[in-house]
């Protein structure tokens, strides 16, 4: 007692223990991701096992090359060119959607918020459907690249409208979210207008675009989402302390010196660009962005400094598992990763909700 009259050391020790638990969780999740990469690459159609697949993977990274046409070359091709891109895509999209989900939930102070809350997904669908059904593209490019650019710009429209509105008037989080919902209905209504006028086959194609998939991802699709997610996550991590302030409510946050309006605008722009970039390549993948933050918050609490990286890791791991299952369950056919994500994720999520006592009282 004499050395530590106020129990400060004990408190600090306790705090450190909590912190190290959170960091441990993040490290464990990253380790799981690395293992999952290997497991995912085991299903390569070449009969390579876990260790072999991983060694091809790492050998390629360090620059090993093989004689063209040899067995090793074919194996390398299967691992690196066919399967690695989709694994990377799953990680990038999972991590990106999860971090955007955390930020949106914090910014809008609503547990139902997800990366698409500002109407992004419906805007993107509208853009994509316009390209698929009417052949109309903003970029003037036809084919799949036209769909991608349409989805990207379509997704940005509602986000831009919201952000501009929030500059003109002083919108509370609740109003922001309602405007987002209104915009998403507006866009899905316009999308429906296009859809009802088309024939059944095109409608099905357009319908399927909306269910995200990583099938046939190739390396050329990786850089844009990767750069967007890396940059946006870095910024979010840097701002995570300020994000914590928002949980006190707008008034308290601004009395603590945070420029709430500007802060919200900037982060929403970042989320919008990042999410639009991801979904224009992968299609709409729901659930991860909503659920990964909640699951991680149940485990380690609401401190965004740890919540963001842990959610990213959890989201990535989750989509990797979902992608893996989507390839394995009806092998050699494939299901869509977005479906598997919902079907395995929802029961797990329900279970966690039931286990966790008094979750979400803060909202």
């Amino acid at each position: 007692m004499g050395d530590d009259p106020y129990g400060l050391e004990k408190l600090e020790e306790q705090y450190n223990r909590y912190t190290s638990r959170k960091i441990l969780l993040i490290i464990a999740l990253v380790a799981i991701i690395i293992i999952l990469i290997g497991v995912s690459l085991m299903f390569n159609g070449r009969g390579l096992g876990f260790v072999e697949a991983m060694s091809y993977f790492f050998n390629h990274i360090i620059g090993t090359t093989y004689i063209v046409g040899s067995d090793e070359w074919v194996n390398d091709y299967a691992i690196w060119t066919v399967y690695t891109p989709r694994v990377f895509m799953a990680i990038i999209v999972g991590a990106g959607l999860a971090s955007c989900g955390v930020v949106m939930q914090a910014l809008l102070n609503n547990p139902l918020a997800d990366p698409y809350t500002t109407g992004l997904s419906d805007g993107a669908c509208f853009g994509a459907v316009a390209a698929i059904v009417m052949g109309f593209t903003l970029s003037g490019i036809s084919g799949s690249l036209g769909i991608v650019t349409n989805a990207f710009f379509g997704g940005l429209i509602p986000a831009i409208v919201i952000i501009m509105l929030s500059r003109v008037i002083n919108m509370s989080p609740a109003v922001t979210i309602l405007v987002g919902v209104a915009l998403s209905y507006l866009f899905s209504g316009m999308e429906t207008l296009i859809m009802v006028s088309t024939d059944a086959d095109t409608l099905k194609n357009a319908f399927l675009w909306q269910i995200g998939t990583f099938t046939n991802t190739d390396w050329s699709e990786i850089p844009i989402p990767l750069i967007l997610v890396a940059l946006s996550s870095a910024i979010m991590l840097l701002m995570s302390r300020k994000l914590n302030l928002l949980s006190l409510g707008d008034d308290s946050a601004s009395s603590l010196g945070l420029d709430v309006d500007n802060f919200r605008t900037i982060l929403m722009i970042i989320v919008a660009i990042s999410v639009a970039g991801m979904i224009s390549f992968s299609g709409i993948i729901g659930f991860v962005g909503l659920v990964a933050p909640h699951v991680v918050r149940m485990a380690i609490g609401g401190d965004n400094r740890y919540l963001i990286p842990a959610s990213m890791a959890a989201g990535a791991a989750f989509l990797l598992v979902a992608d893996l299952l989507s390839r394995v369950v009806v092998y050699p056919d494939e299901l869509r990763v977005g479906l598997i994500a919902s079907i395995i994720g929802a029961p797990v999520f329900l279970y966690m909700i039931l286990k966790k006592k008094r979750y979400g009282e803060g909202y």
């Binding site: 405007v179 919902v181 479906l339 909700i353």
Partner: protein, 354 residues
């Protein structure tokens, strides 16, 4: 004493104003509803002919041309009534959900009613499965939709009976169940033939064209009955909007009230969905518009939302009847209602939510 009576008088005045607002909206809705019978762009019936048909039918005569009578009396008249009651019912569902779950983006479908119904209908279109086979095509769809719509809510109610459930967990459980049903529906669509996918898509958008005299009474009765039941809970629900702990200390059995109201809304919404499909957005915006008009006291908010919902839906249905090609009413509510709602929000935003 003088002070009190002034206060009381002001309060009475405000209350009367709120009642009048609701009544005016309802009257306008009824007017548009009547007017909508005369709007029939694609049949080309003129105003006089429609009027004569109505007069002839109501006075018990037969109008000369059989199919004029069919169109005016058997198709358009029930459709006009259906729109009013569907709008009112969905709006009441929205009010209850938003207040009970304390979330401004809750709507009648938040507990997964739409996804369950859609799953049931997909089972019918894609697998030919009818839960209660009646042999009647549209009745099979209705039963499938309504009964499957109740499954997610039943799950939520069971879950929310447990200890330590907050509105947040209830909402999230609803979202989780919704995702399961939606994914199951999507899996069926993957292998289904495009025709069935199109049928399901059209059903999901929601339409009022299937309204007939024999189903409009069911929807009208359910809406009236459930709204009255909800009105009885209005006072306790208003107290609950301040938070569960406060409400409990004032003697409100929060869990019971929440469960009962969720069940009433689910049954009402499931019935409506069974007959008209999942008309979205209505149930979300009508309560907000009403909130801007009369504030958050559920005693006034519930009737005002019902009137507003009726007005919005019948107005949108009128618009669809003006259009040359047939557009589902759900599209109009989204495309026209969306921007109008945003404008309303911007103008009346500050005082309404938080």
């Amino acid at each position: 004493m003088e002070e009190m009576s002034v206060l009381e008088r002001t309060y009475r005045q405000i209350s009367r104003k709120k009642t009048i607002i609701s009544l005016v909206i309802l009257a306008v809705a009824a007017l548009i509803s009547f007017f909508s019978i005369f709007v029939n762009h694609y049949t080309g019936l003129s105003f006089d002919v429609t009027w004569n048909v109505l007069v002839a039918h109501l006075s018990g005569h037969e109008y000369g041309v059989y199919y004029y009578d069919l169109i005016v009396w058997d198709y358009f008249s029930p459709r006009a009534i259906m729109a009013v009651f569907v709008g009112a019912g969905l709006a009441v569902g929205g009010v209850v959900m938003q207040s009970m779950l304390r979330n401004p983006i809750a709507d009648p479908y938040t507990t997964g009613v739409a996804s369950g119904a859609s799953f049931g209908v997909a089972l019918f279109f894609m697998m030919g499965f009818a839960l209660i086979p009646t042999g009647n095509y549209s009745l099979d769809i209705t039963l499938n939709a309504s009964l499957f719509a109740l499954i997610p809510t039943a799950a939520i109610v069971l879950i929310s009976r447990r200890k330590n459930m907050t509105p947040t967990t209830t909402i999230l459980a609803g979202v989780a169940v919704m995702y399961v049903f939606r994914a199951a529906t999507s899996i069926m669509t993957l292998s289904a033939d495009p025709e069935a996918v199109e049928q399901l898509y059209m059903w999901n958008v929601g339409t009022l064209v299937d309204a007939r005299w024999d189903n409009v009474w069911i929807v009208a009765g359910m809406t009236l009955g459930c709204t009255i039941l909800i009105m009885f809970l209005g006072h306790q629900m208003t107290i609950m909007t301040t938070g569960d702990n406060g409400a409990k200390s004032m003697g409100v059995r929060t869990k019971l009230i929440r469960t009962i109201s969720l069940i009433i809304v689910a049954v009402l919404t499931a019935t409506i969905v069974g007959y008209v499909g999942t008309i979205g957005f209505m149930g979300l915006i009508a309560p907000h518009v009403a909130r801007i008009l009369v504030g958050s006291n559920l005693k006034y908010l519930i009737p005002c939302s019902a009137a507003t919902g009726a007005l919005i839906l019948i107005a949108c249905d009128c618009v669809t009847k003006f259009m040359v090609s047939s557009v589902p009413v759900g599209v109009i509510t989204s495309v026209i209602g969306g921007p109008m709602f945003i404008i309303l929000l911007i103008r009346g935003a500050k005082k309404v939510w938080y």
